[in-house]
């Protein structure tokens, strides 16, 4: 291979640098056919994509930089069909799909429920309790948020009731995990089933065939007076962004600050890493974990409230549709760090938005595009993430000596 020889013969060319160049080239191959550049021929993207993939393949041989090489190969190769597809469409069509401001707005709506649940998952796992029940806790928030908003005729009360329902499920999880020393994975799976049943039961019993009412007090969208009228930014985040989206984004630094910059956060993490040692110095392992799991349930449920009462305006059976598990994946992908989880949920949210908007090209292929967020997440997880290490005591029942 010529590229390999070049890498070997020139000491200034390190494998890492070649890898970075390859990734950048692949990114260029991606960007060329999209607005604002909107190249109308696929040739440059194909050439650049192939170069990126070849360089990436050379980098792959170095076991130290295998990930970088893999990402370059993957991105470079995907760029080719992408460019062919884009140049096959009219430029008006491509512009409709890649209206960046609209993509950002829609990406945020997909991200919001996930980030709440992921933050909940992080808090719970950092305290040492695995929470596979995020999905169920979200679903509780969906239904009881709607029910509360309907019965109390107020979205604020609906939101609080929804959060309380998730907190209640968290309490059950905590009781089983902490007092009954349950297997936490099993308990979490059970709560998911239970939540599906409970919400379905009350939904049928309360609303029957009519479904939840069409007009409910919904969590409002906010418009930011300062940036509302700025082009692009105004369209993306200035006008119709839901209140809960802002809350979710704001909670990311807040949770990070709490976990890594406050005394209580340090204690929480200590309890998740070394419960016995923490208990020796007088920290209350059990009550801290209770609090963490209940808060985790409330946060996940808040994501559910957004999904039902902020976004959809209605409840449907099992409407969380696996989002709790995506959030669980984001927790692991984000290495139990709020910002990492945010990155993961943003990746997922934006590719979901892209998948929906790609349906403009073809309704038949549109269904296939729905798989895009999952493919991208899988590529990203396999390519970018090293071996992850959870909090040391996460999942292990705590027995007081």
């Amino acid at each position: 291979m010529t590229t390999t020889t070049i890498i070997r013969s020139n000491p200034a060319v390190t494998t890492k640098r070649v890898g970075i160049v390859a990734v950048v080239l692949a990114a260029i191959a991606w960007i060329l056919p999209l607005p604002p550049i909107l190249a109308r021929t696929a040739v440059p993207s194909i050439v650049i994509g192939l170069i990126a993939a070849t360089l990436g393949a050379a980098v792959l041989r170095d076991p130290k930089h295998r990930r970088l090489g893999g990402v370059a190969v993957g991105l470079g190769l995907i760029a080719i069909p992408l460019a062919l597809a884009m140049t096959n469409q009219t430029s008006a069509n491509v512009r409709t799909v890649f209206t960046w401001s609209a993509l950002i707005a829609s990406g945020l709506t997909f991200t919001t429920p996930l980030i709440f649940a992921a933050l909940g998952g992080i808090i719970s796992e950092r305290s040492g309790v695995v929470n596979v029940g995020l999905e169920g806790m979200m679903l509780m928030g969906c239904f009881f948020g709607i029910l509360g908003a309907d019965v109390c005729n107020s979205w604020v009360l609906g939101m609080l009731i929804g959060m309380a329902s998730g907190g209640l499920l968290g309490l059950v999880h905590a009781y089983f995990s902490l007092h009954l020393r349950a297997n936490q994975v099993v308990s979490g799976i059970a709560l998911n089933l239970l939540a599906t049943g409970i919400t379905g039961y009350f939904f049928v019993a309360h609303y029957g065939d009519n479904g939840s009412p069409g007009t409910l007090p919904e969590v409002p969208n906010v418009s930011l007076p300062g940036i509302k009228n700025i082009t692009f930014i105004g369209d993306a985040i200035g006008n119709n962004t839901n209140l809960l989206t802002w809350v979710g984004l704001l909670l990311v630094p807040v949770v990070w600050w709490f976990l890594f910059r406050t005394r209580a956060g340090l204690r929480l993490r200590a309890i998740g890493e070394q419960p016995l040692a923490a208990s020796t110095v007088g920290l209350k392992v059990i009550s801290t974990r209770y609090a963490a799991v209940i808060v985790s349930g409330m946060l996940a449920a808040l994501g559910g409230v957004y999904l039902a009462d902020g976004f959809d305006g209605s409840f449907n059976f099992d409407m969380t549709d696996g989002r709790g598990f995506i959030a669980l994946a984001a927790v692991i992908f984000g290495k139990w760090n709020p910002f990492g989880a945010l990155a993961a949920t943003l990746l997922f949210g934006f590719s979901s938005a892209l998948a929906y908007s790609l349906q403009t090209f073809s309704t038949t292929l549109g269904t296939l595009f729905q798989a895009l967020p999952y493919v991208l997440t899988l590529v990203a997880v396999a390519g970018l993430m090293g071996r992850s290490r959870p909090p040391a005591a996460s999942g292990i029942p705590y027995v007081k000596e």
């Binding site: 009954l180 994975v185 308990s187 059970a190 049943g197 071996r387």
Partner: protein, 407 residues
């Protein structure tokens, strides 16, 4: 503790668990103003298990037979997806991907069975089953391979692979999709499998969803599971990796290869489940089937209730299959409970069962009661901690969520 009392406990604890779950669910019904005894009787009759009573005769017996056939038809795939999850748990892996593996298997099963019109029926059925199983295995192996080469957590990869499989399958069968029946006119379904490629029905009317041989495939798979796990080098290695990957590596076991093989076997079970469903009673796959199926996800609950053993999984699948059939809208007596409410009740009961399975303490405390009251066998009231058996395979479930601590 003697071997016998251990075995007795292994049976008693899940039984007590299930009974408590039914009692708690009964309380829920009481609170919502229904009579739990009547509802449970209706569910029981809906499962067709009353067929086993000799005093049930005439018309009632005919209906019971039909219901029982359905229960067993529903049990077969649950056994298989349960085994698919249980096998992973024994290796310290958490296979949430059973649903995706099932989906890939159902695509292959329906595709093979609706192609090759001139093939010998027996060979055709075998080919469809084998390819569905292999497809499920290959799909699952991706997750094992990613874990082996890139350290990707199998919880993430199997969740993603689930949805990729589900959307690709939806694409294939949707209107104008590549595998849609061209004569279905806007109906998003695959071609219908010709009757010569149906699994033979051994009890009941083939036109009324009689019991097909899928249940024997499932039981055979359970025996294979047991044999691999307890009587083969592979099973030994799988369990060793499940207990402690580092120690296993130190002992010379190829852990990376083990992950791939383990996941592939899990996928084969899930693919078999799909073949049994598609060739046994569905005979076609619609996008609604793809998007709505829960067989793989229920497999997680089945495996957990069955404590990741072959026999336990079969028993748990029977319970879940019976519950699903007993509360199906067509089977339940609409005068006793709103047929739409019944499936929700099933989910609540299933959730409670699994929740109580998550801890032995409740059942153990109940087992310990006789001692406290002063009339039990002495060992039944022994120290609680001592009775939490350390080699309980279900403990691996929590381990599975924890990646191995570095190489």
């Amino acid at each position: 503790m003697s071997r016998l009392s251990r075995a007795g406990r292994a049976l008693l604890v899940p039984l007590i668990t299930v009974v408590i779950a039914f009692i708690v669910a009964g309380l829920v019904m009481l609170i919502t103003g229904s009579n739990p005894l009547k509802i449970y009787a209706a569910i029981f009759n809906g499962t067709g298990l009353n067929w086993l009573f000799p005093w049930v005769t005439g018309q009632e017996r005919t209906i019971a037979a039909l219901d029982l056939q359905q229960t067993l038809v529903a049990t077969a795939p649950l056994i298989l997806t349960g085994l698919s999850v249980a096998f992973a748990f024994r290796a310290g892996l958490f296979n949430i991907g059973s649903q995706g593996q099932y989906t890939v298997g159902s695509v292959l099963a329906v595709w093979v069975a609706t192609s090759l019109p001139h093939m010998n029926p027996v060979l055709h059925i075998i080919l469809a089953i084998v390819l569905a199983a292999l497809a499920g295995g290959a799909w699952a192996a991706i997750a094992g391979w990613l874990k082996a080469v890139a350290g990707t957590h199998e919880v993430i990869s199997t969740i993603m692979l689930n949805w990729i499989a589900i959307w690709v399958a939806t694409y294939l069968f949707q209107e104008d999709g590549p595998l849609q029946d061209p004569h279905a006119l806007g109906n998003p379904v695959s071609k219908t499998i010709p009757s010569k490629v149906h699994l033979p029905v051994i009890w009941g009317n083939p036109n009324l969803q009689g019991l097909h041989i899928g249940i024997f495939i499932a039981l055979g798979a359970a025996m294979t599971f047991w044999a691999i796990m307890n009587r083969s080098t592979l099973g030994y290695e799988v369990r060793a990796v499940g207990h402690n990957p580092d120690a296993a590596r130190g002992a010379g076991i190829n852990v990376a290869r083990n992950y791939v093989v383990t996941m592939a076997i899990c996928g084969v079970f899930a693919g078999l489940a799909a073949a049994v469903d598609v060739l046994g009673w569905q005979f076609l796959v619609s996008t609604n089937d793809v998007l709505g199926s829960q067989v793989g996800f229920l497999g997680i609950a089945v495996a957990l209730l069955g404590r990741n053993t072959a026999l336990g999984t079969v028993a748990a699948a029977l319970l879940f299959g019976a519950l699903e059939t007993g509360t199906a809208a067509d089977n339940i007596n609409a005068n006793v409970i709103n047929p739409e409410l019944a499936p929700q009740l099933t989910l609540i009961i299933e959730g409670l069962v699994v929740l109580l399975v998550s801890t032995d303490l409740i059942a153990i405390r109940i087992l310990g009661l006789p001692k406290k009251l002063g009339w039990g066998r002495p060992e039944a009231g022994a120290d609680l901690a001592e009775q939490l058996e350390p080699d309980d395979p279900s403990l691996d479930a929590a381990e599975a969520l924890r990646p191995e601590p570095g190489r």
